[in-house]
């Protein structure tokens, strides 16, 4: 092991910033992070062992306890549930002879849930040793169980198990006219970098990650910082359940995304860029590395790009399963090899980002759009969309519709149009922008996609009339409790309190007053949390409670007080010990209801 760790650390130049990459390698080899490996890593990297323990415990894809040689994780996103995930999971557990959350006694396979894997248009989905499995069904699970029991290596598994489709259903302004490699850089060089920034400003492009900050303004702020060592970071940590557009952009338009990053680097004067790729997109890693190599060979990356005008290169860094790392300052912490805890602001990343240097962090789609704007000009982009939301938006659509996949629309398009296009009928509501966004009911389909009405990072999850609103809120609320980084009190404790309170109501133990208590917890988390995760974690409950208060009320008992647990169930141990099971040994908890 010493030799393995030594070589691994040497490969990463003994840089603690690369800790996640090294832990990924250790996990892949030993299927956990052995205590010895943590000690050795601490020794060779010269960092406290506590940093390694912290990172191991923070990221979902690392574990201190041994996992199976086949680490199976099944996506727990609501869209997977809608496609029959729970029933399939039970079938899979039975086939493999392993309980969910456990390792089989022979150590061959472990099975567990994971948060959304970004395959909502082709679920139920999962991961095996980090690689995406799509379109799971019983027959596929039969084959997977056979392959695992036969201990067949992943390379020999049928390729179609790992096939990830783009599913581009409706291209628009950007997807219809991709640029050729180098085109944006040449246009920018010819026009001048300053003038290109003016074009981006004129285009009205706002960050596509959800917050909607003006891109040109962010780049200008960063360029104006006195500190000259600057960085460009592409946020490809697309963890919002229901969102998968970045996966498609990186699979089929990576050149254009890298070009946008290079353009930004040329404008702000950065020499180094990072693509922070979510761990769930490991299947894209080699392909993206190959594209970077091609760009270096073509003189579009590296030293002396465009005849010496720019020096810039891009490194790909993989995440390790933490939704919070989509928050830009948490992402920067993660890039530095630490656990993903959002920083205090100010200072903002444009002033003090990666290693304390000025850093531009933008979404994949933002860089993708910026390179097109460099070619076609600001007016071309601004001609689409609305007055306050220029251009187009790429959407990931999943759930109850005939054609899940990628759609691109000019801002200002109504929800109704989008639902018609994707083949959704009998729609109960749509979750716009993922769990952190808004649930809109069927009364609101004339609302428009735009920053001034329905702002969105780009996900639509469609629910039809057969779906249970409370089950949706339940899934999302559990998601946030699982993904809270735990830094601040209102989010760390609040998301767990919220989960428990909602469980109490959906579990039939709620009574008068419990919905009021639920609302109070929501407000506390939303108002007092440190970052966007906490500030939006209560949205699934708040937006459904606002639209369907009667649904929450209908789950309540009619008595004035109901304990948060099953009184009769709690007596089970006592009954067993007393060897009794007669009527008098049971408590009628709900008697008052029938009076």
């Amino acid at each position: 092991m010493r030799q393995f760790i030594q070589r691994l650390a040497a490969k990463h130049d003994f840089r603690p910033t690369h800790l996640l990459e090294m832990l990924r390698a250790v996990q892949a080899r030993y299927h956990h992070i052995p205590a010895d490996a943590a000690e050795l890593l601490a020794e060779v990297l010269r960092i406290p062992r506590t940093r390694i323990i912290d990172a191991t415990e923070f990221y979902s894809f690392f574990s201190t306890d041994p996992k199976g040689r086949y680490e199976l994780l099944i996506s727990d996103s609501i869209t997977d549930h809608m496609l029959g995930k729970q029933e399939l999971m039970a079938y899979l557990a039975g086939k493999l002879g392993v309980a969910v959350g456990e390792v089989r006694s022979d150590g061959v396979v472990s099975l567990d849930n994971t948060s959304c894997t970004g395959m909502c248009d082709q679920g139920p989905a999962g991961l095996v040793n980090g690689y995406a499995l799509t379109r799971l069904d019983r027959s596929r699970i039969d084959q997977i169980a056979e392959l695992i029991n036969g201990e067949i290596s992943l390379e020999e598994w049928p390729a179609e198990f790992f096939q990830v489709e783009d599913n581009i259903r409706r291209p628009g302004l950007l997807l219809d006219s991709p640029i050729a490699p180098g085109e944006a850089l040449k246009a920018a060089l010819a026009r001048g970098f300053k003038e290109t920034l003016i074009e981006i400003d004129k285009s009205g492009l706002r960050g596509r990650g959800g917050a909607g900050f003006k891109t040109a303004m962010k780049w200008r702020f960063c360029a104006e910082e006195p500190q000259t060592e600057r960085y460009v970071v592409c946020n490809a940590d697309e963890g919002e359940p229901g969102t998968f557009k970045d996966r498609v952009l990186l699979n089929s338009f990576a050149d254009q995304v890298f070009e946008g990053m290079t353009l930004c680097a040329a404008i702000i004067g950065a020499k180094q860029g990072f693509l922070y790729l979510r761990g769930e997109y490991l299947h894209l890693y080699d392909k993206l590395q190959a594209i970077l190599a091609e760009r270096r060979a073509a003189g579009l990356l590296g030293a002396g790009i465009l005849g010496g005008a720019v020096d810039f290169d891009i490194e790909i860094r993989l995440g390790a399963g933490a939704y919070i790392c989509g928050e830009e300052s948490a992402l920067i912490e993660s890039l530095e090899g630490k656990s993903g805890i959002p920083r205090n602001r100010p200072p903002y990343p444009v002033t003090s980002g990666y290693l304390g240097r000025p850093t531009v962090v933008n979404n994949v789609e933002t860089f993708f759009a910026a390179s097109a704007i460099a070619v076609h000009g600001g007016d071309w982009f601004a001609a689409s969309g609305t007055e306050k939301s220029q251009g187009s938006k790429i959407l990931s659509i999943s759930g109850d519709c005939a054609r899940p996949g990628i759609y691109e629309y000019p801002f200002g398009t109504t929800v109704r149009t989008i639902l018609d296009d994707c083949g959704a009928s009998d729609v109960l509501g749509v979750q716009v922008g993922g769990p952190s966004g808004t649930f809109i009911s069927d009364q609101e389909f004339d609302r428009k996609l735009a920053f001034e009405d329905l702002a969105t990072g780009g996900s639509f999850i469609v629910f039809n009339g057969n779906r249970d609103i409370l089950a949706i809120a339940h899934n999302f609320t559990h998601f946030f409790a699982h993904e809270s980084c735990g830094f601040c009190t209102p989010c760390r404790v609040g998301t767990s309190l919220l989960r428990n309170q909602l469980d109490k109501i959906t579990g039939g133990h709620g009574s008068a007053g419990d919905v009021v208590a639920l609302e109070e917890i929501c407000r506390l988390i939303k108002t007092n949390s440190h970052c966007g995760l906490g500030q939006t974690a209560a949205n699934p409950v708040l937006t459904t409670l606002e639209r369907y208060p009667e649904l929450y009320q209908s789950r309540l008992k009619k008595i004035s007080f109901e304990p948060g647990f099953d009184l009769d169930g709690a007596l089970e141990t006592a009954r067993r010990m007393a060897n009794r099971n007669d009527a008098a040994a049971h408590l009628q908890q709900t008697a008052a209801e029938h009076e």
Partner: protein, 238 residues
């Protein structure tokens, strides 16, 4: 001329680079806090010092004071939220004030008094947490840790040692120590270290000192935390 901010209608002078907390403390205005301590890098995690700055909620301990800020500190709404946040800290761990040797000297308890916290309000988590009594002079009772990281910062910034860290995610966060065995006895912590005495709760205790001052004669048995805190911290911020 010095610049000013307004806290609850009162003009407070500040100098460039000061946080709202620093300016307030220097001007004798108490803002409740647990994870903050003068002279330590601000952390901003407990969120008791949340104030309303021009309508927006910000942590006073990390947010820079700036000309023109109109700050609400002691509003009924803010104090009600602070009470709830304190109650969250109480139900997350296992805090049994009457049986804790820190009682009367505990900032968590004192803040709860100050905010008129009369019950725990939320259902308890009853987390299973351990005790590390391995060290000859210092004890960690994880039941009372609130993850303020003051011990982490003290060890790193004041003692130059790096004994403590917070590990894990979300509600599973926990305090760890820098020893292969994971036990405090195998670290280089000494009872005289700042990290051993900075804990605002009863999570890190010095052994054999628990009852040298009798209950009833302790710091917060007689005085409110706002007065004590301002007296102790004003000079350090000033």
């Amino acid at each position: 001329m010095s610049k000013t901010i307004t806290i609850d209608g009162k003009a407070i002078p500040f100098t460039e680079g000061q946080t709202i907390m620093e300016a307030a403390t220097a001007a004798d205005v108490y803002i409740p806090h647990l994870c903050h301590h003068p002279g330590y890098t601000p952390h901003g995690s407990c969120k008791l010092c949340n104030v309303r700055v021009n309508g927006r909620i910000c942590s006073a301990c990390t947010f820079p004071a700036a000309e023109g800020q109109d700050i609400q500190n002691h509003s009924e709404e803010l104090n009600a939220d602070r009470r709830r946040i304190t109650q969250m800290l109480f139900v997350e761990g296992n805090h049994l004030c009457p049986g804790c040797e820190k009682t009367g000297n505990c900032q968590l308890q004192a803040v709860a008094y100050h905010l008129n916290m009369l019950d725990n309000h939320f259902p308890h988590f009853y987390a299973k947490r351990n005790m590390d009594a391995s060290h000859p002079d210092v004890l960690i009772d994880h039941n009372r840790c609130i993850f303020c990281t003051l011990c982490v910062r003290a060890s790193r910034e004041k003692d130059g040692k790096d004994v403590f860290a917070i590990s894990g995610r979300g509600i599973n966060k926990h305090l760890i120590v820098n020893a292969e065995s994971g036990l405090l006895k195998d670290t280089d912590l000494e009872a005289t270290d700042q990290a051993a005495t900075i804990c605002p709760t009863g999570a890190i205790l010095i052994k054999r000192t628990g009852y040298t001052v009798p209950i009833g004669e302790r710091v917060y048995d007689h005085r409110e935390i706002d007065a004590v805190s301002l007296e102790e911290e004003r000079g350090e911020h000033g």
